[in-house]
Symmetry: D3
Subunit: 293 residues, 6 copies
């Protein structure tokens, strides 16, 4: 590249460094970005760069495939009802052990190994994620929880001490038991409670497409109202709906911007954050905000 091109990139990107300084960014980490070793490394490196220029990232993760794998090895059966894993006490012990013991530690180790300072926590620590048993008419899901209250003191202390919290989506009930909860929901709720500046949802899709078969139909910025209308009109449909609703929940709780980002593209976090024209879909309360605000 010639000098003028490099300067041009810099003059575009540097003002974002200033804008994002000390901003809290909650990243829901999952999908391919979590199972491919190459993508995993790129994502964690992006987060390390974000931290190094003064942003305050928080990582939230689930780990469905790893849980299924271990349940299989231990020959514990678990069925899905309404898309939810019915979780017996025996299964829950495995869920907790895998999420908080294997998946979480793996992220923490990899991040610290490239020079970061991560701390792994789960909802039992300081009992920060209080849940109650999820109720449903159709079935007893067992140890599946709904969020009752989130105490972000611990998370806030960790980021103020310059750590990157890595949070596994296990909560604690009033009965002193662990409960399994949806990681997207946990991430969005934490973002809301801690008044994050951004919520970034790493997925296995490009973002919001007006035509699901045409990648060029990606919408790069939606207002809350526009997103709700697209759902109502059926243009946003299928598996895209819960992703968009998860973003809308974060927005409603005060997060300034929520992003759906393609976790299958290397360095998608950097591209979305530091350039005027990002690569995913940003949803904000009002439309007049600049793209990467």
């Amino acid at each position: 590249m010639v000098h003028s091109e490099k300067v041009e990139v810099l003059i575009e990107a540097l003002p974002y460094v200033n804008r994002f300084y000390k901003q809290i960014i909650v990243i829901k980490y999952g999908g391919n970005a979590m199972t491919s070793e190459e993508l995993k490394e790129a994502v964690l490196y992006d987060i390390l760069l974000m931290k190094s220029v003064g942003m305050l990232p928080i990582i939230v993760h689930g780990g469905g495939p790893f849980i299924s794998d271990m349940l299989g090895k231990l020959e514990i059966e678990s069925e899905f009802v309404d898309g939810i894993r019915v979780t017996t006490e025996e299964a829950m012990e495995v869920v907790e052990m895998v999420l908080a013991g294997s998946v979480n530690n793996d992220i923490v180790k990899k991040f610290n190994h490239i020079g970061g300072r991560a701390i792994g926590i789960s909802g039992m620590d300081d009992q920060f994620l209080k849940v109650k048993k999820a109720q449903s008419d159709s079935a007893d899901y067992g140890y599946v929880g709904e969020i009752e209250d989130i105490e972000v003191d611990l998370i806030r202390q960790l980021i103020e001490s310059d750590y990157v919290p890595v949070i596994s989506s296990v909560g604690m009930g009033e009965d002193g038991k662990s409960y399994n909860i949806n990681a997207d929901t946990v991430a969005s709720a934490i973002a809301g409670k801690i008044e994050a500046d951004k919520f970034m949802l790493l997925t296995d899709i490009e973002g919001v497409l007006l035509d699901r078969n045409d990648p060029d139909s990606l919408v790069s910025h939606l207002s809350k109202k526009e997103a709700e209308d697209l759902i109502a009109q059926g243009i946003i449909s299928g598996g895209m709906i819960p992703k968009v609703e998860c973003c809308l929940d974060a927005i409603k709780q005060g997060v300034r911007a929520a992003h759906i980002i393609d976790g299958r593209m290397k360095h998608s976090l950097l591209l979305e954050l530091f350039f005027d024209m990002g690569i995913g879909t940003m949803i904000t309360n009002e439309k007049e905000k600049a793209h990467a605000d």
Copy 2:
């Protein structure tokens, strides 16, 4: 009890409250106190009381029986050489998962359920427990580690924020891998590095007995020199030796007093701490110190 007796207990115990205020107490938690539900509850309640009167307890734990159990379920073989579990990569994944995911979370949950504020951590968090592969002429132990360095910043921050850290004995190597380490050693080394005032080793013995068959031969206070002499003379022998040496290591690194306590007796921590005549064996650098100093 009549008034005067209650007052008498209080007048004996209250000065210790003052003396122990803001003192750091590292407790190695293990043995029966960890496997019996009744003892577990009593120990955690004692620690809650210690915290409530201003002491700064830190819990360190291992979890051998739980590891063996899970290895069995997963049909992974592991043999012992020189009393050390030879740990393959496959086994290490289980060790980490069980210690950091099951045992640690179980302590944290129980402590928080009775009103405490515990945070579970392991050596990978902030990479605070740096280890290297243990070397031996007799065998390759696999992922068994020796302590290389301990960074107590994270632990110090947690206790200054009024949390009780619960630490599982897994360390991290320069290769970014997890290693299994002896929990007594980890506890003693943490106590030394953080300049703890006390190191309390919960065991399944009464303390140091001059005659191993006579519980009345318990020695309630030993100087460093006396302990070393008793080992040299063979009076301290067998499984008692590593326990005493673990205490001596803590003393040598600056801990003010190390205690071997019978974890099989309910509330043994309180009895050792708050009464002039404790119930276990205290080892200090010099003898002239008062018992519960």
Copy 3:
């Protein structure tokens, strides 16, 4: 005592240590507890223990018998009208000299001699206790004062510097003169103004008795309303009335709990404070509070 009994006392008492930490406790010191050398020593030792576990005691005292004695020696006559000592200028000089010079210094010396850090003050210091001449239709009481204003800055600074203030009940008028005031009233008003957590009135009675001749009729806890009713019904009568009213005044000014305690019983302060079933009468705004709250 056996181990389990000692542990039981501890488990009962220790939670109070936590609850009372940094609580301000105003103690009106007088009666037998002030004239018997043995009781004096026990009371001051109790206060030393209270301080040592983090409570913030404040001592307020009068000293009628000592004043009478010195007036006698100097052959200065002083008569009582309406139970109040008519105080001439000449007598007032003696009152001030005895209270602030002898009685106060005696308490300070004894407390410091057993290891405490007391500072003696009186209402002239920083002019913290502003009074006006007490008015009455029946007589001119001379230099007898009523409280006009209390500035607790000085007292607050002393307790924040870890001193125990010992306060003699002499106030200062706008005319720059000293005035004698009732010590119970001063203690109660200081407790109110400094927003004390407890006001403890050491007296020569057991507490509130439903039947004045039956010590077993002691009421261990009264709400404000109950106390007022008992006075209205004449069950609380005689010398007990001003004691209870003094407590009610403290409660009305925001003190959380007021206690009438038998100063004739050794260590009555400890017994009232640290055990579920105290030994005197506690008055609180509402009844639902726990005894030693």
Copy 4:
């Protein structure tokens, strides 16, 4: 006075305000300035002005005439040996009561009445003035003390809280008893220990006179060495010697300047402090310092 004269006084005096800001000034208050009501008022007003422009005055006082008077009224005999009052236990009770109860309170009240914020203390408070029994071959002086140690924490806190400490010269022995000590000595020792900038000794003489019968022979500035020489040569003699030695003690302990001032002249403190040519005798370590330094 015309404008230019007033400006001239101001231009002379204002730089001292700056120089003395936050300087600690220990004033030994005694002699006529303590017994004449008119002088007493002028001295306390001077100290109030000193405080108001940012100086940190500390008042130390004795009270011989008042003690003798009360001992007389109570018909307690006390004889003088070597110029020292032999003090029985009975007499000591009176000494303490008069100094700490009457004289001290009188100064505190008068100072606070004109708008100051004084706090009266004596050596028993925080046990700050530790003494031992004075030993002598010629006689047993009884409760007469020599200074063993001074803890100036309390005094320092008071001046940092903007109070003016008023200190009576009573100390406390290891036996828990009060002892009488010479007030000049106490004042000089406090000045030394608190590293005062100035020690001002109010006396009933003009200052150091080369010819005791000629007030015009006043020496306005002496170096430590010159003062010692004048004593050796007998030019400083009689009652002047202990006054000069008291100043020399302060200098030796690090006080920057000691002043002997005529307490019989109204506003002598102001005149000595704020004008290039003061009115008493200043003693400093070296001569080259400016007069009012």
Copy 5:
């Protein structure tokens, strides 16, 4: 002068030292006091004394004669319309250069040379003085500005760092250009915005005279209302009007007292500040305030 006279001056002046401590005093410096070398020196020495006793002076200046002189040398014509210098771009460059480069630096240098710590600033620094082009029906004044906004952060930081700000009356427009503004107006507006305690306007008149030909008709204190009435009645007239209105503006914006002072009299600042009967005219919101309040 005899002792009693000097003491008298001191007793009159010292209480003002206390009253003025840490008070912000904005001084408009101009007229003869700026052109006579002797007066310049006396004024800066007065300000140095003010600073040395804890006041926080701020100097604001213009410099008409110096500007005219340089415009003359450079043969740039500039005419006056409505008493306002019509300022072309070419002239404005000279105005800025002379005020911010010559006059300001000259004051700063002289003040620092006698021991002060001055910092010269103008409205461009931190863009603290935002102006817009002055509008008029009668003429286009060119680069003459009206105050739009004042940001006193920079000034506040300088005085908190113990500097004396010296401010030249040049402002900055939204167009990034410099504008000339009336220095009296700037000084008064800064005094108002920074909530100064005093605004002192050095002029070439004695103060407000009831009879312009009789210096003895000086009014030493006026309330806001009285000043307005005197203007309405025509007693205050001519060049005196803008001076008084400038003071009234300061008062209306919250300055506690505004003073018109004769800059032709040496040390007029000291005389006005430190004596009960000042030498100029003080204007306050209400009359009941003491003269030098």
Copy 6:
């Protein structure tokens, strides 16, 4: 540019943001970058970006061409001896007025107009740049100064308050007069005294060329020793020598890296700072440091 290229630039540049955070960068501003309006704008924008990502820039400037111009207009002659402008008192007044009044204000205004927060100062402010008359055998240079002492308190306070100081190269002598000094020297000395991380010298050359006629012979990194050798060997010659020596002076006083940069290239500051291969010549104490360290 495609995504991967933009990410590549970012991944190269972002680590420098982290490395330079809170680093002090002294920039000597001069040459073409100061006279061309287009370059001036680009330089100030670069400095604004540096500030926005957390760097602490300090600007030092001279202004020879502007001085010559004004001296011409005022018909004041000034000759050059040894390359130094002989400066009479009359000329010095112009130098001071032009540098501190015109050039400095112009930079401040332009920087603040694009959103910065600059404060203009010169050596008279707080007398921070103390100079003495430059001595020479060949001539009397008049008011030309040599640096005697630099007090960086003021500059440090300004950068800590998030201002960008703009410093004109005028100093103050003990005689209270202004002196002209070489701006490169002032910049280098300030960088040394304030322990700057970088000193960046904007010049009208590409950097150090091994062959003065071949731009491709640019050396991008020199150690101190190499630079000294190149001078000794005559390879660095002519006008390049004082530029390199100025950098070496900064290095010797502790600056971590000095850079000679081509001020004629737009955004040369950014290119030198944020890319592994900069565009000018960096000189460091030792060679092993990375280019942009």
